[in-house]
């Protein structure tokens, strides 16, 4: 069984919600990312989502855009991200890792080569923001051959028809974008999230994680009431880009994640 499914099932048995945390590889420098990943896990992360920087991150708000730019300034690439995962796996063989990025770096490497290298490095899934199911079939096939999951997004504007289509290809979990907007936006509407989640559950057995706009314990707890878990990204990338020392950044990450973890675990009581 894939680490993602294993982790989520274990959480279900404990009646706990999943906490997925996102940072960009190489942000603000390549040296910090490995330590940051371990810090995120120690503070209560269940699944790590590692951003692969891209020159044109169309779906990101300003905070994560700057994270991509900082990472690219140091030459961070898809290849160096796979090397990072390999290094992480030397000491952590259990925490699932999802890579999140854009289609072009994966296309450039080649779908087959990517799937093989990612599986060997210890990656568990791939979320390609600009590769919807219509365009994802070839990549999906390569990922399946290596037992990697294709993670897909659904949005408030997704029709039932599209929910169905995504459900056919999706593996691991479904990532529900909680609002019309870019990452880090602030107009989260819990009741509309709740409504859409019930539509998704009609077509897919997969757990649904909610992201975009979740920045603290309060919003995580509110969304966690209805979702199987939450994704926190911009709030962490903001800390990465704060300009503080490595020690301060790692401490900031740990505190943030621990507070969200505590709030989220209120849901299981």
């Amino acid at each position: 069984m894939n680490r993602i499914t294993e982790t989520i099932q274990a959480l279900k048995q404990q009646k706990r919600k999943a906490l997925i945390t996102y940072i960009v590889n190489g942000d603000p420098t390549p040296e910090i990312t490995l330590a940051a990943m371990h810090a995120l896990v120690s503070a209560g992360t269940d699944i790590l989502e590692i951003g692969v920087p891209f020159s044109d991150p169309m779906a990101e708000g300003p905070v994560i855009q700057r994270g991509h730019e900082r990472a690219l300034a140091h030459g961070t690439s898809l290849r160096s991200t796979l090397a990072l995962v390999k290094a992480f796996r030397e000491t952590d063989k259990a925490t699932p890792i999802v890579l999140m990025g854009y289609a072009n770096p994966v296309e450039r490497m080649g779908y087959g080569e990517f799937a093989q290298s990612a599986a060997e490095a210890g990656v568990d899934g791939l979320l390609t923001v600009d590769l919807p199911p219509e365009e994802a079939e070839d990549l999906h096939r390569c990922l399946r051959e290596r037992e990697l999951e294709s993670i897909f997004l659904l949005a408030p504007t997704s029709s039932e028809e599209r929910v169905k289509r995504v459900a056919e290809l999706a593996g691991g979990f479904i990532y529900y974008v909680s609002l019309k907007g870019v990452t880090g936006a602030s107009h989260l509407d819990i009741s509309s999230v709740r409504e859409k989640l019930s539509v998704i559950s009609r077509y897919s057995q997969l757990p649904v994680m909610v992201g975009f706009g979740i920045k603290d314990g309060l919003s995580a707890q509110a969304v966690g009431t209805y979702a199987d878990g939450v994704v926190v990204g911009s709030a962490l990338v903001e800390i990465m880009g704060s300009g503080h020392s490595q020690t301060q950044i790692l401490e900031g990450l740990s505190n943030k994640v621990a507070s969200i973890r505590t709030a989220l675990d209120q849901n299981s009581k």
Binding site: F54, S55, D56, P57, M58, A59, E60, G61, P62, Q65, R66, E69, L72, S77, L78, R79, Y102, A103, N104, P105, V106, E107, R108, M109, V129, D130, L131, P132, E134, E135, F152, L153, L154, A155, P156, T157, S158, S159, R162, V166, V177, K180, G181, V182, A185
Partner: protein, 404 residues
Amino acid sequence: MNDTKVDFTNMPDERGHFGQFGGRFVSETLFYALDELQSMYNRLKKDPAFQAEIDHDLTHYVGRPSPLYLAERWTEKTGGARLFLKREDLNHTGAHKVNNTIGQALLAKYSGKKRVIAETGAGQHGVATATVAARLGLECVVYMGSEDVKRQSLNVYRMKLLGATVIPVESGSKTLKDAMNEAMRDWVTNVDDTFYIIGTAAGPHPYPQLVRDFQCIIGREARSQCLEQTGRLPDALVACVGGGSNAIGLFHPFLDDASVAMYGVEAGGLGLDTGQHAAPLSAGIPGVLHGNRTYLMEDENGQIIDTHSVSAGLDYPGVGPEHSWLKDLGRVNYVAITDDDAMAAFRSLTKVEGIMPALESAHAVAYAEKLAAKMDRDDIVIVNLSGRGDKDILTVAKLDGIEV
């Protein structure tokens, strides 16, 4: 070229593909809006009332048809084929861009959306969008890379006078591609009340198709004007290619005319061998950017790289997907012209014909001159003069070391 006959008129396919190119590579939130746009467009393009409204605007507001002009002195000087200019520079706002914004703004009107957004590089598409928005009373927001805002201050002010809000984009390379990213982000956020007017025949399906359809007026007119004036079809067509909307507009109505050769001219910048250019069809590889699969300029890690051209309107790392398809089929030849050659053509056409081409169009002029020189005196070449050069006077003056 392929032996099997290709049906050029029936593309893209239902999912927006031109062969392996095109498609819809956008985040999930936009699918709904793209589906809605597509079904509205499919309905309206068969609606005679909608077509009549466009025709009316093109005639009375834009000033079409634009002339097809035999440039006799230029032909004489070149000493080869007869050179005709399709005078898109004479359109209202001074370029072909308005053909498309007229069409898309009408779509916006029919959709009931009161706010339009656009991306712009040199500012021509921004001006053309702000113009039609003013006329229809729509709110207009234009995204423009902060580097371009500095370089094109005249057009920025023009847009402001027209009532548009110009938002400088500070991310990435601060140029056209980043403006397009930012416009997409705006659209994702305001998708319920906002219509995105894309300026070139690229982006997610159905944009490459609808921009092409609106620009095909260029080729349809040129075809019938050429038949009328010369009694036959041209031997070659030449147009510059950035995103490629003026070129596809000229080429498309001729694609089934096998005797007509076509040349798309990319920005060769400082030379293809220097890497300092904007010629993805000549020197790039297929990849995914801005919602479509197409030829791109990128590095070995799949990151999009900075481009260079003296002409801001060609300074873009991608190209419309239909051009990528036509390149691979071999139906259109894609070539590159350097900054220096384009500048020389700018000066030469201005002096010989009293027509000052936009620096973008000057690339087509430069290539046409080389091409025509090798052809017979009976041959006919049509060059798309996609825009006028007034907007470039400050750039040219600066190169000459003159302060205006």
